[in-house]
Amino acid sequence: MLTTVVGSYPKIPNRPRPARLRAAIARFDRGEIGEDELRRVEDEVTIEVIQEQVEAGIDIVSDGQIRWEDDQTYFARRIGGFTIDGLIRYFDTNTYYRQPVVTGAVQWREPIAVNDYRFAAAHSSRPVKTLVTGPYTMAALSANEHYGSFGELVLALARELRQEVLALEKAGVPLIQVSEPAILKRKEDFPLFRQALEQMMEGVAVEAHLYTWFGDIEGLFPQILDLPFSTIGLDFVMGPANYEIISRAPFAKKLGLGIVDARNTRLETVEQIVERIRRVSDVVPLDGIYVNPSSRLEYLPREVAEAKLKRMVEGVRRAQEVLG
């Protein structure tokens, strides 16, 4: 059993620790520092949050997506064909992202996350996973003013994001997480979803995990197991039905077990974590489980996220003793 994260580590700590990134962005916006200085602070904070994950005992870390404003615009600003519009709510959270608008043919131009991976890998003693927002979620959270149908946009994005996945593979990333929360909101689109992800991952050899959050996979199981990923990540906090759903058919993949609530500050107990692992251990062998938070960690204050990761690691160690 390994521990990992689903991305987006909280960017700033609370007092007395200084909120360096927040201050640097504010100074950059006022024209007081240049882009080089802002990038330097992003680098420092990235190193700091990798270190926090390592110290918490996380086996596979991420760079925390410190440089990302949100999961969508990090890619949309760098893929041709998008403009960026006003703020819009991210699912049912009380957080917002800037909505990408597709105004022309989408086109991958150059590697987007490769340099970020290289930087993180050079500063981490643990393997670093790289996140790619999937074509379905990118399309669902954007406004389409160019393609004749939503499906055309999804497939076009799958084709372009494939270039990014291939670039990451070439750069030697050990693991890619493809984030697709939006499919849980429109499950009837599964045939399109499958077609897009199959195209995106065609001929890709690097290990890739598919992660969903904010709901359950009722209606998508077991066909979600056919998708070209070694691991399927599920949210068992906002989707408690997932416990029962995955028991309906042999789970022929590894499972990303999202059992630590990334949207509430209440700290799970070690016993709760052990119990949640035990509930799936009949369906998936322990060595086929990645234990992780239920979604992106940015909904929590930094110190709470850190405490939750530590508790999660503690719970996994206990579970290994009790269940292993």
């Binding site: 709510r89 204050p301 930094r302």
Partner: protein, 326 residues
């Protein structure tokens, strides 16, 4: 007051520069609570004066003493709520998200003092402004309750007590805002249960404001919400929500948003009159109130004033067309 198309606002007004500065000085411990409160009163007086000068019918105090609508009440519910660490809301914006840490209970008046001060400055009615229980819970972490329902219903009892206090103080209009209701339409039943607890036995006119949302599938529940007036955001979505009122019987009053509060542009007289006429296609003027889409706090003082002036002018012209006296 006129017999139809009464004008009002949703609640918040832009904070004057001196108050924003004073709030940050207070948080750094550089000025006292009393010094800050004096400036809050000064700002409330300016908000009341502006609304009278513009000619609005039902006033607000402008929420000058509130940073955000959830944290303000959470700080005063200090025995059951705490203010947590910073959470990013978007871009480089962060806020301190409250945490429910114990059984929610009313500890004393929270909104009465500033309401009473504002009402003392004008002969026009001033609305008592409260944050609804669903929104209070949804925009907080919860480390105490096992279910959202329990938390919302306990919070509703707290907000109900505050509404009773406002009514005792003389408030004739009590607004209980539920902007979070639109994020999860499937929980509209819980929103309604919370509001039922809040408004039970009140004689004041009760109002709830909701942000724009996908209300089509839950409109039968919205029709039955236990409030007298529904305040909705309509201008920035091309008034498409009005279609629902055409299709369903709706006996309550509606406050129709005719100003896009997210736009710097001041609406034209014709645009607003057109919006009012669209409202009149589905509701009689006696049940149709006219206001901005949402709180005005994100606009500048001058933008807010300019938008409200055109709104009042548009209402006067439509009233004249309908033969309603100002």
């Amino acid at each position: 007051m006129s017999e139809g198309l009464l004008t009002t606002t949703v609640g918040s007004f832009p904070k004057p520069e001196y108050l924003t500065r004073a709030r940050s000085q207070f948080s750094l411990g550089k000025i006292s609570r009393e010094e800050l409160a004096a400036l809050e009163r000064q700002a409330i007086a300016e908000v009341i004066r502006l609304q009278e000068e513009v000619g609005l019918d039902i006033l607000v105090h402008g929420e000058m003493e509130r940073g955000d609508m959830v944290a303000y009440f959470a700080e005063l519910l200090s025995e059951s709520m705490a203010i947590g660490g910073l959470v990013r809301s978007y871009g480089n914006r962060y806020y301190r998200k409250p945490i429910i840490i114990g059984k929610l209970h009313w500890q004393g008046p929270m909104a009465v003092e500033m309401w009473r001060y504002a009402q003392g400055l004008t002969d026009k009615p001033v609305k008592g402004m409260l944050t609804g229980p669903y929104t209070m819970v949804d925009w907080s972490f919860d480390e105490y309750y096992d279910s959202r329902r329990e938390a919302v219903l306990d919070m509703a009892r707290v907000i109900h007590q505050e509404a009773v206090e406002l009514e005792k103080a003389g408030a004739r209009y009590i607004q209980v805002d539920e902007p979070a209701a639109s994020t999860r339409p499937e929980e509209m039943e819980l929103v309604a249960q919370g509001l039922a607890v809040v408004t039970e036995g009140l004689k004041a006119k009760t109002i709830t404001h909701m942000c724009y949302g996908d209300f089509a599938s839950v409109f039968d529940q919205i029709v039955r919400l236990p409030i007298d007036q529904l305040d909705i955001e309509t201008a920035n979505s091309g008034y498409d929500l009005l279609e629902l009122f055409r299709r369903h019987r709706f006996d309550k009053e509606v406050a129709l948003g005719v100003l896009d509060v997210h736009s710097h542009r001041v609406e034209t007289l014709e645009e607003i009159k057109e919006g009012i006429r669209r409202g009149l296609e589905v509701l009689p003027p006696q049940r149709l109130y006219i206001d901005p889409d949402c709180g005005l706090k994100t606009r500048t003082w001058d933008e807010a004033a300019a938008k409200l002036r055109v709104m009042v002018q548009a209402v006067r012209e439509v009233r004249r067309e309908l033969g309603i006296e100002d």
